[in-house]
């Protein structure tokens, strides 16, 4: 048996998250979120909504949207499907926690390490996003979230503050490639 606990690495393969500042743009790797996927069981969507709302105050959003409740955010990802995001420090086994709440009204899957999360901030991120993805990023307002491709990678883009703060979730195994794309785009417009 083993005595020592295992030490995690961030998606970019380091002990600490990578933070890059280019011009006025900051790109931060964020390893502090835990993620669980939620899919309503057949014909039990209403039950799922009410259970979640009653126990956690989380309202499940419509397509293209994101909802917040306390420290949890919910993003629509497909028909009757959502991702739930929460701080890992206060929700160490989040999928199990959610499953306890929703019981058989939904399927819950642990997805924390399925993703790499980058928080991007700057005075005007639109020129950068224009070079990355086919989104009308200028029209995105706070609380909107949508799926789109960035350099062949299926990503989720969350608008935290219109034009100024975004979070991008991408496939974890391609974290380095995605980071390279973000940095390249930032340098292009810096």
């Amino acid at each position: 048996m083993s005595e020592q606990l295992l030490a995690p690495l961030t998606a970019l393969g380091n002990d600490t998250p990578v933070v890059v500042t280019i011009g006025g743009i900051t790109i931060c790797e964020n390893p502090d979120l835990t993620i669980a996927s939620l899919a309503a069981r057949k014909d039990r969507g209403a039950e799922l909504h009410s259970k979640l709302q009653a126990d956690t105050k989380v309202q499940l959003p419509d397509p293209g949207k994101m909802m917040f409740a306390e420290d949890v955010a919910a993003i629509w990802t497909g028909v009757e499907q959502w991702l739930l995001l929460a701080p890992i420090s206060s929700h160490p086994d989040y999928a199990a926690e959610v499953k306890t709440v929703v019981a058989d009204s939904a399927s819950v899957t642990e997805q924390t390490d399925g993703w790499v999360v980058f928080d991007i901030a700057g005075n005007n991120l639109i020129p950068m996003l224009e070079r990355l993805c086919n989104l009308n990023s200028k029209a995105l307002s706070s609380g909107e979230a949508t799926r789109c491709l960035i350099e062949h990678l299926g990503c989720l883009i969350i608008c935290r503050e219109s034009g100024r703060e975004f979070t991008i979730l991408g496939p974890r195994s391609s974290a380095a490639s995605l980071h390279h794309s973000l940095v390249t785009a930032a340098k292009s417009i810096a």
Partner: protein, 985 residues
């Protein structure tokens, strides 16, 4: 003399002189010049040699339609051939070379082609270089390529980078002449999201090139006012140096923005160009018109140019091609050039007008009813020979000649979706047909509205209509007073006299005679004529040539131009660099990589990586002293068989299947039974396609009654997920089942070998009993490792040994492999890569991608009995087709060379000894081959006809490509432990 042809005025910045070099000679120009205007200012008319005949050529236009003045811009790796001097902004230190000449532009030895012109007519290479056939590739083609053609590539890697991006707008306005600016003002004030794209360096279009288009204000001033207002509107994006090169479906437009081409080189980390994909709810084509020439004998000499271009050079760049000019026109617009240049002090030798009824002038001579028969001057125009209306001829000295045969609306973008323009008899030109869908509207000269007043108003009005479609309220703004002259033109295409050559297409050296010959030889369709003569091809796509040729073809056919029609218009409107299309997807950035959780650790171990799809996987781990990959792989294989090895298998697809009907769903997806799989057990599964052929294999582990984890092969992770999602949504929407990929979320390692359990017992928390009794072969469970870290354990084996796959959240994968290596030291643990993985599975006879190639049935794989007939599953019915059930079909077998020193190669074919080696006698093929350190020889898996009955027999293994022809023994595909005892200890 420096800039002897520079005139007064213009819109150049005389306070910023710039030096540049052309063909090694230094010159000076000013900021605001193009390379073409600066060369003309320096009295350089000769700028290139023609494609086929190497005729001396000079600049013909002042815009992107330029056929002649193509240069190799810059040097070294940045050298770019076929750059239009008319579109090249002058910068300090610019260097350009002329192209397609040897040894120099003034003395080009390849000009002997011109003397051989009678042999080089249309289609000459189809007729001439027929014999002997072998000479074509080695002699004729290289020689033709040497003598013909345009510029040279540097052959070096492009050092610049290119971005791509996406833009969205309500209204895209293409062109910023009077109509484009009026439209932008209308839409901008209405609050719509507007993109105004202009291929030129500055906005304004013909307003910059003409005098007195506006009656109460200078054109420049109005442009400046409008741009000033538009710049202040946050909803308007102004883009200069941006060419919209194509219109695609659903309002999508392609654009190239040349962000750094006006600089010696792009700043660090900045792109040279950006490829934009623009999503426009509505678009307005305000791309103006291109002037067309009149064709006559020897009409291609340096100094002969379009009259409108001559005017643009004078008004915008304060340059004339010569101090003595003549004009040849069939319409009133040609006279405008004479007026403007006369006002600038240039001597107008004559205006030669083919019409009888012409404007008169007190300032210069107008010869009505006259035609130019010929021209003279070897390296530049010296004089033209004119036939006067009384039939007499006169030689007129001039250094430049402006041609005006009327204007052609730039209809291209309106036709990219297969639209065909229509002939407008009144103004003698093609105009765009209505698109019907109104996604693209057309205004100004592009619509055949040639007066400035008409252009301004049509721009504003079309913008209003486009915005009204989008429920945006807009109003025509107050527009400046402008000239509103009607088009006065009498079509006149070419001068019908003389025996010499008269050029229609300057870039491709296509003459009137060539079109006549093509017609004579039966190439009467306009598309055939184009391909036979090459008219309208190459970088300018015949912008100044096509309509003249259509008129000629119509005359030859005795038809109207409408009946002749046009060729198809296709993107790009102007040439686009290949690098621009590639964007950042070059070299190692061609596609994203996927890195395994143990990548960092593996790299530290010196692993050699291999690309598996987008994944980088460790292929083998060389240790000190190993000089050949086989040494490493043999060592890794033997270590697994002897003690224990570990391999990162995260890349295998993992699909979470949940729901009350998850078991029933999998029972339909896999051909074998899954309904009764107990919780805590894993089962091997084979899934078929609808056509009954094998799609993928893998395992499904039942973690709970309503929860399975399916694994797929690495290559099929996405296709299998898509396959399952399709059936979930489309075939069985009534089932309660939910799918999601978890491939990325778990780091998974195979731990294989007789000591695998002992090793794992050191890292798995003691609460979990993994003894053979408690956790037998094909068991699975959720466990914790290393002090309460949640994990999953599967007792499955690809290698044929006692083996497990252990999974932890991905972020702990690096730490887990390091812990396994540390804990495994006492067992001499060996990390192994994909190569050893392959050897191990071939020894065990497991199928992989080589066997699951889309052509294999379950029976071929030796799994025919797995296809359950007690239930329905995808592919079951079609797998039962008699052809797929025949007894003598291929079966998976093992092969060993009779001579153990010989090597079997994958891809080799199997033949019966004595048979001729041909497809008819083919008995099967080798799918996978490896050296087996366990067997001590080369071994292979193969598909062999009736293979199951041929174990123990001999077969010939042949690969003519590899000079392989050896004898092999057919065996069971299981080279190790056919009974599976090692798995179950």
């Amino acid at each position: 003399m420096s800039q002897k042809n520079r005139l007064v005025g213009g819109q150049i910045d005389r306070s910023r002189p710039l030096s540049f070099a052309f063909d090694g000679k230094n010159y000076e120009g000013y900021a605001g010049d193009t390379l073409a205007s600066a060369l003309l200012a320096n009295d350089v008319r000769l700028m290139g040699r023609s494609f086929k005949y190497h005729r001396p050529r000079g600049v013909f236009s002042a815009g992107s339609e330029e056929p002649n003045a193509l240069v190799e811009l810059r040097s070294g790796a940045r050298q770019e051939p076929n750059t239009r001097a008319t579109m090249t902004e002058l910068y300090d230190g610019l260097t350009a070379m002329s192209q397609n000449r040897f040894p120099s532009l003034r003395f080009d030895m390849l000009a002997f082609n011109d003397a051989l012109s009678s042999f080089l007519s249309a289609g000459f290479y189809y007729k001439t270089f027929m014999w002997p056939p072998a000479f074509w590739e080695k002699l004729y083609e290289p020689a033709i390529r040497r003598a013909a053609g345009l510029g040279r590539l540097s052959g070096k890697e492009d050092p610049d980078s290119y971005d791509k991006g996406f833009l969205h707008c309500d209204l895209l306005i293409i062109g910023s002449g009077p109509s484009g600016l009026a439209a932008a003002l209308t839409a901008g004030r209405a609050g719509a999201e507007v993109i105004l794209a202009e291929e030129d360096v500055v906005f304004g279009g013909r307003l910059l090139a003409e005098q007195n288009l506006l009656t109460e204000q200078c054109g420049n001033e109005w442009v400046s006012d409008v741009i000033g207002e538009l710049s202040s509107l946050p909803n308007v994006r102004l883009m200069t140096r941006t060419t919209i090169f194509g219109q695609y479906d659903h309002g999508i437009f392609g654009a190239v923005e040349r962000v750094s081409d006006h600089l010696p080189e792009p700043p660090a980390d900045k792109p040279r160009q950006i490829l934009w994909r623009i999503y426009a709810k509505r678009a307005l084509l305000a791309a103006g018109a291109t002037e067309r020439p009149i064709t006559f004998e020897n009409n291609d000499r340096p100094g002969v140019m379009l009259a409108g271009a001559m005017r643009a050079y004078a008004n915008r760049w304060a340059v004339t091609a010569s101090t003595d000019i003549a004009i040849f026109t069939n319409n009133d617009d040609g006279h405008r050039t004479a007026w403007d240049l006369d006002a600038k002090g240039v001597n107008i030798a004559a205006v030669i007008d083919s019409r009888m009824d012409t404007p008169s002038s007190t300032e210069f001579e107008v010869l009505s009813g006259a035609q130019i028969l010929d021209s003279h001057g070897r390296l530049g125009l010296r004089s033209v020979k004119v036939r006067l209306k009384d039939g007499s001829t006169r030689e007129i000295s001039c250094g430049a000649l402006g041609l005006s045969g009327g204007w052609n609306p730039n209809v291209h973008l309106a036709c990219h979706k297969r639209g065909r323009p229509v002939w407008n008899e009144t103004i003698s030109t093609f105009v765009p047909a209505s698109s019907g869908d109104h996604l693209l509207r057309i205004a100004g000269a592009a619509a055949g509205i040639f007066s400035t007043h008409g252009a301004l108003h049509s721009g504003a009005e079309e913008a209003v209509k486009a915005l009204n479609d989008l429920d945006v309220s807009a109003h025509v703004p107050e527009l400046p007073e402008a000239e509103d002259a009607p088009v006065k033109i009498t079509p006149f295409w070419y001068v019908k006299s003389g025996k010499g050559r008269a050029w229609l297409d300057l870039q491709n050296d296509v003459t009137v005679k060539d079109v006549q010959l093509a017609h004579q030889e039966g190439f009467r369709s306009v598309e055939h004529m184009k391909r036979y003569t090459t008219l309208g091809m190459a970088t300018d796509q015949g912008k100044t040539a096509n309509v003249g040729a259509l008129a000629l073809l119509a005359e030859l056919e005795g038809k109207t131009i409408t009946e002749i029609g046009t060729t198809i218009f296709r993107p790009p409107y102007t040439p686009v660099s290949m690098g621009t299309f590639a964007g950042r997807s070059r070299g190692k950035d061609f596609r994203p990589y996927r890195l395994t959780p143990s990548h960092k650790w593996a790299a530290e171990q010196g692993a050699v990586f291999v690309e598996a799809g987008n994944w980088l996987r460790a292929q083998w781990f060389p240790t000190q002293g190993e000089t050949h990959w086989r040494q490493s792989v043999d060592r890794e294989v033997l270590a697994v068989r002897k003690s224990v090895g570990a391999c990162d298998v995260t890349t295998l697809g993992k699909i979470d299947v949940q729901g009350a009907d998850a078991a029933e769903f999998l029972n339909h997806i896999y051909c074998n039974g899954f309904a009764k799989l107990p919780v805590g057990k894993v089962r091997y599964g084979l899934m078929l396609r609808e056509d009954g052929l094998a799609m993928d294999d893998g395992t499904a582990a039942r973690l709970a009654e309503d929860h399975f984890v399916v694994t797929t092969t690495t290559a099929n992770a996405v296709p299998v997920f898509r396959h399952m999602e399709f059936y979930r949504q489309c075939l069985w929407p009534g089932l309660d089942v939910q799918l999601i990929s978890t491939t990325e979320a778990w780091a998974q390692f195979a731990v294989a070998g007789p000591n695998a359990r002992k090793l794992l017992q050191k890292v798995i928390d003691p609460a979990y009993d993994i003894s053979n009794e408690a956790f037998p072969y094909m068991a699975c469970g959720e466990i914790t490792v290393c002090g309460d870290l949640r994990a999953r354990l599967f007792r499955i084996s690809f290698s044929g040994e006692l083996a497990y796959e252990i999974a932890v959240p991905t972020r702990y994968g690096d730490a887990l492999i390091r812990r396994l290596m540390e804990a495994g030291k006492e067992f001499d643990i060996t990390p192994y890569g994909t190569e050893a993985l392959g050897v191990l599975r071939i020894e065990k006879g497991h199928a992989a991608g080589n066997e699951l190639n889309g052509q294999s049935t379950a029976a071929m794989l030796g799994m025919g009995r797995m296809v359950s007939q007690k239930k329905d599953s995808i592919g079951r019915v079609l797998a039962g087709r008699p052809y797929l059930q025949r007894e003598d079909d291929y079966r998976l077998v093992g092969l060993k060379p009779v001579n153990s020193k010989e090597t079997i190669l994958a891809g080799a074919h199997l033949m019966t000894a004595g048979d001729t080696v041909n497809a008819a006698n083919d008995q099967g093929w080798v799918t996978s081959a490896a050296y087996s350190p366990h067997v001590g020889s080369s071994i292979a898996l193969a598909f062999l006809k009736n293979g199951e009955a041929r174990h123990g027999g001999m077969i010939r293994i042949v690969s003519p490509l590899d000079n392989l022809d050896i004898e092999g023994e057919v065996t069971s595909p299981h080279f190790i432990d056919p009974e599976g005892d090692r798995l179950r200890v």
